[in-house]
């Protein structure tokens, strides 16, 4: 199976020009405004951005789980191994969810049902997709627990008997039971403390390699990106403002926003140095600024920035940036 996947170098996930707005009676929240994402088989893409950049909404669209009835997918395509997710029937979607695409949720405290044992919750996914008996599913659930480093006999216990880190392991076990082709990790470590974060990341990484899965890692922690990702997309106000390989982003960053993100990191070498935050706040998604949405906060703002939206500019095979600074040059202007 592994060899087969290696050979077909196709894209596990392709998102093209996705636009999602949340429409209510009072206002329109422009959550996602034209996102393009490609994840190659077996690769990990990091989707980085501030709160409200549309990361989670993008992820939910892959499972066609954008909250209804407010969430409206206005345009765009989501192709999962070449099949369009957005046009699938509910029945087809149920087959894909958990089997082809699985999701690790942000908060393990609320993503496990308090009234079922952890074993039963892992077994649920196996029962649905593998069509096996309840006993068999529970047996496999135990094996999954062992795999994420929890003794199998604890499968009869309830979520409240587990610590936060262990709960997140259970959530990971649920996501991995049917060895999906694409794993979506929506800030899997934000609810955990730092030492547990490292363990959980290591676990996700190991298992991902073992089963040769593709992964979409949503995070706002650049450290995590450096640790687990092959490629990075920087999201701002529902757009991908810069995309590239790890080297492109970490060593040759081009977009002022990406630079702002890196400048805002504390430096362990110079302990006295003050943090340099990006000035201003994330724009209100109901009322985005004209032109480039980042221009009110940008240090390199030009006249054109408030007038028109920058196009995608490919600087190399892998590196793409959305900024007026690079209209006629590929060299860094930061």
């Amino acid at each position: 199976m592994e060899i087969k996947k290696m050979n077909e170098q196709e894209n596990t996930l392709e998102i093209k020009n996705l636009v999602i707005h949340y429409i209510s009676d009072e206002e329109v929240v422009k959550a996602v405004n034209g996102v393009d994402i490609i994840i190659k088989a077996g690769k990990t893409l990091g989707l980085v951005g501030e709160t409200g950049a549309g990361k989670t909404t993008t992820a939910l669209s892959i499972l066609n789980l954008v909250p209804e009835p407010q969430g409206k997918i206005l345009s765009g395509e989501v192709l999962l191994e070449g099949r369009s997710v957005l046009t699938m029937s509910e029945l087809e979607l149920e087959e894909i969810r958990g089997d082809k695409v699985a999701m690790i949720f942000q908060d393990p405290m609320t993503s496990l049902n308090p009234v079922h044992t952890v074993g039963a919750q892992i077994a649920e996914s196996i029962e649905i997709h593998r069509k096996v008996s309840k006993e068999e599913a529970l047996k496999q659930a135990k094996e999954m627990l062992e795999l994420v480093g929890i003794p199998g006999e604890r499968s009869n216990e309830y979520p409240y008997q587990f610590s936060g880190g262990m709960k997140q392991r259970v959530v990971i076990a649920i996501a991995l039971t049917c060895s999906p082709d694409l794993l979506i990790a929506d800030e899997p470590t934000t609810a955990l403390d730092v030492t547990i974060q490292a363990q959980v990341l290591k676990l996700i990484n190991e298992l991902r390699r073992k089963y040769h899965m593709s992964m979409l890692m949503i995070t706002h922690d650049l450290g995590i990106v450096a640790e687990v990702c092959d490629e990075v997309s920087i999201a701002y106000a529902g757009r991908i403002v810069e995309h590239g390989t790890l080297e492109d982003i970490f060593d040759n960053l081009r977009h002022p926003y990406t630079k702002g993100l890196f400048d805002a990191l504390p430096d362990i070498e110079i302990r006295r140095s003050e943090l340099k935050p990006i000035k201003g706040l994330m724009p209100d998604p109901t009322n985005l600024p004209s032109g480039c949405p980042f221009h009110p906060r940008c240090d390199y703002v030009m006249e054109v920035c408030s007038q028109s939206l920058p196009e995608n500019k490919w600087l190399s095979e892998t590196h793409c940036v959305q900024c007026h600074l690079y209209k006629d040059t590929n060299e860094s202007r930061l």
């Binding site: 499972l63 999701m103 649905i128």
Partner: protein, 300 residues
């Protein structure tokens, strides 16, 4: 720190003290702290036991039904604890057998209301939007009519017997349950584990029954106890005005109605059924209030 650890022989034991008690255990402990609720529970258990053992306490045909004119209107004595009624029947026997009807019809009608109203409320709350609007506006129409009036209309239309009465009361309570279940479902629906269940490909039906409703257990249990009390009261009210359980069959409401004429000279004749209704309703209300407080974590 070392001394603290020494007290417990192993690390495992040291951490055991932090192990949380189960939620059910915690709720139960909180319930036990509420004295009135415990009293309510005991009275209710007593009433249920009486209803179950009714045939042992008094023979239905010879003591509760058979007319025995020479024995009529006897005041309470050791032989007849609550006295005898205008037909010479032992009031105690009739109360005890009446409890069976009240409890069975009370619970059956609430079960019916819970089943229909719960299903409609769960669908409305889970799917929301237009489905919610249609279901809840229909329920609102029913909610406009007072329960007793609605039950009365149904009984009047289909005739008075036990089954019709259960259905009548059950239907008149349906909209209330649909509201309760809907609001409980709407709170649970937003929690991440429901989304997580969708993300692994569970069907909506499976999610509603297995993930959502099971977490709405608390508010539903409270409403069930409170509405059983209300149902028992409705049965008695209907029987009192002659549209419920009919004459020879002992029922608290119709006992009150038939005893009314003799109330001046023989007060005990209405005292017993009145007290029976009062105590039953009181116990269920105390129980329901206690459960509500125990299940509400804010009142810890």
């Amino acid at each position: 720190m070392d001394e603290v650890v020494k007290k417990y022989t192993t690390r495992k034991e040291f951490f055991k003290q932090y192990k949380k008690k189960s939620r059910l255990q915690e709720t139960w402990n909180r319930f036990l702290r509420n004295k009135m609720a415990v009293i309510g529970l005991f009275i209710f258990i007593f009433i249920v036991l009486v209803a179950i053992t009714a045939p042992i306490i008094a023979n239905y045909d010879t003591e509760a039904i058979k007319i025995n004119v020479p024995n009529r209107l006897k005041a309470p004595s050791t032989e007849h604890i609550f006295g005898t009624d205008e037909m010479g029947r032992d009031i105690m026997a009739r109360i005890v057998h009446g409890a069976r009807i009240s409890l069975v019809v009370g619970f059956a009608s609430v079960a019916l209301a819970l089943f229909i109203g719960g299903a409609l409320g769960a669908i409305a709350g889970y799917y929301g939007g237009k489905i919610d609007d249609v279901i809840m506006r229909c329920m609102d129409v029913f909610l406009c009519l007072p329960d007793v009036l609605l039950a009365l209309a149904i009984v009047a239309a289909f005739g008075t017997n036990l089954v019709n009465m259960t259905i009548a009361i059950g239907l008149s309570f349906t909209p209330k349950f649909s509201r309760v279940v809907r609001s409980a479902v709407m709170t649970v629906r937003g929690i991440e584990y429901v989304e997580a269940a969708r993300a692994i490909g569970s069907t909506n039906t499976h999610i509603i029954t297995n993930h959502v409703l099971i977490n709405c257990f608390g508010p539903i249990v409270v409403q069930v106890t409170l509405y059983v009390a209300s149902a028992i009261l409705t049965i008695s009210a209907l029987s009192f005005i002659g549209l419920g359980i009919q004459a020879p069959i002992p029922e608290w409401g119709n006992m009150l109605a038939s005893g009314r004429a003799y109330m001046r000279d023989h007060a005990y004749i209405v005292m017993a059924p009145g007290l029976a209704i009062f105590v039953t309703i009181l116990s269920l209300n105390l129980l329901g209030d206690g459960l509500r407080d125990a299940l509400d974590p804010r009142l810890k």
